[in-house]
């Protein structure tokens, strides 16, 4: 169920250049069922910045009623968010959307998780759940450069992890696809979140594979009412369009026209 709650900041820290890890606590955590869902945050009580910001859920801890997000402080809203301190309240609407389905892969199979930049966070909870289930995740994570790499260790603890940076300052050099081309394709399903060109490249690279891709769009309401976040679809589905906020953000590969 979607709820609105004043959640409390448990901790916040910078984990890479302009990249923050923020943990909130509240009852809303109990409704977070799927990796890949997101929350819609108010960053200020004032009327400016006005709109909520969509941020993916990166990890969930039902026991402590905590969840964590990882985001880049870039514009006005995320910068304000990065100033929140433990004890501060954040107005959270969520959990929103449909996440990554983990029932598409069987115990003992391999799953390929491909993340690009600030698209990496939702893959973390996904990977944890796959490991819990007995699936073997392989992580291929692309970043611009060393100073914005995060969670390398955390992913390594869950499974095989390849880091690639555009400028080669950490891991191998280039794009995730440079790594993928060299990997065996003995995985059952691939999951990805990152910039749209990367998602498009994946669909081309694995035309026969089952894949689940998480998309981004500018949002208004975040719950499906305003039609801000629509994407055109391919012939693969009947609907003429999908809404990223309520039909997605995760779609099976081939559904969204990229």
């Amino acid at each position: 169920m979607i709820r609105q709650e004043q959640m409390q900041v448990v901790k916040q820290s910078a984990i890479a250049t302009n990249i923050f890890e923020l943990t909130l606590t509240g009852q809303l955590v109990l409704d977070m069922k799927q990796p890949g869902q997101f929350v819609h945050l108010r960053v200020s009580d004032q009327m400016e910045p006005l709109l909520r910001r969509p941020i993916s859920i990166s990890s969930i801890n039902e026991k402590t009623l905590e969840f964590t997000m990882i985001y880049r402080a870039e514009g006005r809203g995320t910068k304000l968010l990065s100033e929140k301190k433990p004890g501060d309240q954040v107005d959270v609407l969520g959990p929103l959307g449909n996440g990554f389905p983990i029932d598409k892969v069987e115990v003992g199979q391999k799953a390929l998780l491909i993340g690009g930049g600030i698209g990496v966070p939702p893959l973390f909870e996904l990977s944890k759940r796959l490991v819990e289930k007995g699936v073997k995740p392989i992580h291929v994570l692309g970043f611009q450069s060393e100073d914005v790499v995060f969670y390398e260790k955390q992913f390594q603890e869950l499974g095989e992890t390849y880091i690639v940076t555009v400028d080669g300052s950490h891991g191998s050099t280039g794009f995730v696809t440079n790594v993928l081309e060299k990997l065996e394709d003995d995985f059952a399903v691939y999951y990805s979140c990152g910039p749209t060109p990367m998602l498009a490249a994946l669909e081309k690279l694995y035309p026969e594979k089952e894949g689940y891709l998480s998309f981004e769009q500018r949002m208004g309401c975040g719950i499906g009412a305003c039609f801000a976040c629509v994407c055109d679809t391919t012939e693969k589905i009947e609907a003429d369009y999908v809404k990223v906020c309520s039909d997605g953000p995760v779609f099976p590969s081939g559904v969204v026209r990229v």
Binding site: I2, P49, L50, L51, Q217, G220, C221, I223, A225, C226
Partner: protein, 304 residues
């Protein structure tokens, strides 16, 4: 007696607060959050004769205390709205105001005639003010003669009272208001969005794919309020006011300026519970201000 009750042509409202068209879809999403029967009414999304896919994305952009949108009237088209949306809405005890849009007089007439016959549609809202469609839309709202003619044409076929939604992008909104009143409008809803632009500073390109978009939210409240205050004494038909309402004081201000009811647009995105919250806060606010009923408050600024 219900202190919040508001009687308008075709509309018996439990309270004067309703979501604005385009900011509430056809209600399904908000129905998951609260009981829609609490609402004074629902202004559903603009309906056109055929399915419309709207503009390319990005369709929204944030601005200081406001936002731009250029959705482009995306909607499933008359047939599906009647079959899927309005039928579904029948489960709630809430009057529906159907927002009617199009490119030609024909379009408006077609939609108006059919949709006004749906059992829960108690009024139409003629959208002659959408700034986001290239032809039609806005021109209907900026020329008094054309606005009057269109109102007449729609009145001739509608089975329910017709409200006309005015554009703020005009030199003299009072003139347009008087024209649609002369055309037989039963009420006025105002304002639609102000035409605006945001550029991506890095690239110089418009942020919104459609180039310009409609400005809404708190930023426009002073303009909207001025227009309601200006139009109210010039017409004898009621006004449903909107534009930047985000809190109970804003509701009071629009009623004071002469609106008989109010609609909430952008604020639904900021706080999805805004409509029921404001409805709940209204009685205490009336007490605080020393008014017995909402009707007593309407137009008070003109009586001082």
């Amino acid at each position: 007696m219900n202190r919040l009750a508001t009687l308008l042509p075709g509309l018996t409202l439990k309270n004067p607060i309703m979501p604005a068209s385009g900011c509430f879809g056809f209600g399904k999403e908000y129905a998951k959050l609260y009981d829609l029967s609490q609402l004074g009414a629902i202004m559903i999304k603009a309906t056109t004769p055929e399915t419309r896919l709207g503009n390319p994305t990005p369709r929204v952009a944030e601005t200081p205390s406001g936002m731009l949108n250029a959705i482009g009237l995306q909607n499933p088209g008359l047939k599906k709205v009647l079959e899927n949306e309005l039928t579904w809405l029948e489960q709630y005890e809430v009057p529906i105001i159907a927002n009617v849009a199009g490119y030609t007089t024909e379009d408006y007439v077609t939609v108006a005639e059919a949709i006004s016959q749906a059992p829960n549609v108690q009024a139409l809202e003629l959208n002659i003010s959408c700034p986001n469609v290239k032809q039609g839309g806005i021109t209907f709202g900026t020329d008094p003669l054309i606005a009057e003619e269109l109102t007449k044409a729609v009145k001739a076929v509608s089975s329910v009272p017709v409200y006309v939604k005015l554009s703020p992008n005009v030199t003299d909104i009072g003139e347009i208001a008087k024209a649609v009143e002369a055309g037989g409008a039963d009420g006025i809803t105002m304002i639609n969005t102000l035409l605006g632009l945001r550029l991506d500073t890095k690239t110089g390109r418009p942020v919104i794919a459609n180039v310009t978009g409609g400005l809404s939210g708190p930023a426009i409240k002073p303009v909207a309020l001025r227009m309601v205050y200006d139009v109210a004494p010039k017409v004898s038909i009621p006004i449903i006011g909107m534009g930047g309402i985000t809190n109970i004081d804003d509701v009071v201000d629009f009623l004071s300026a002469g609106a008989s009811a109010v609609a909430i647009g952008t604020a639904n995105f900021v706080d999805p519970f805004i409509c029921p919250n404001l409805i709940e806060q209204l009685p205490a606010k009336l007490d605080e201000l020393g008014f017995n009923t909402v009707t007593d408050l309407v137009g008070r600024s003109h009586r001082l």
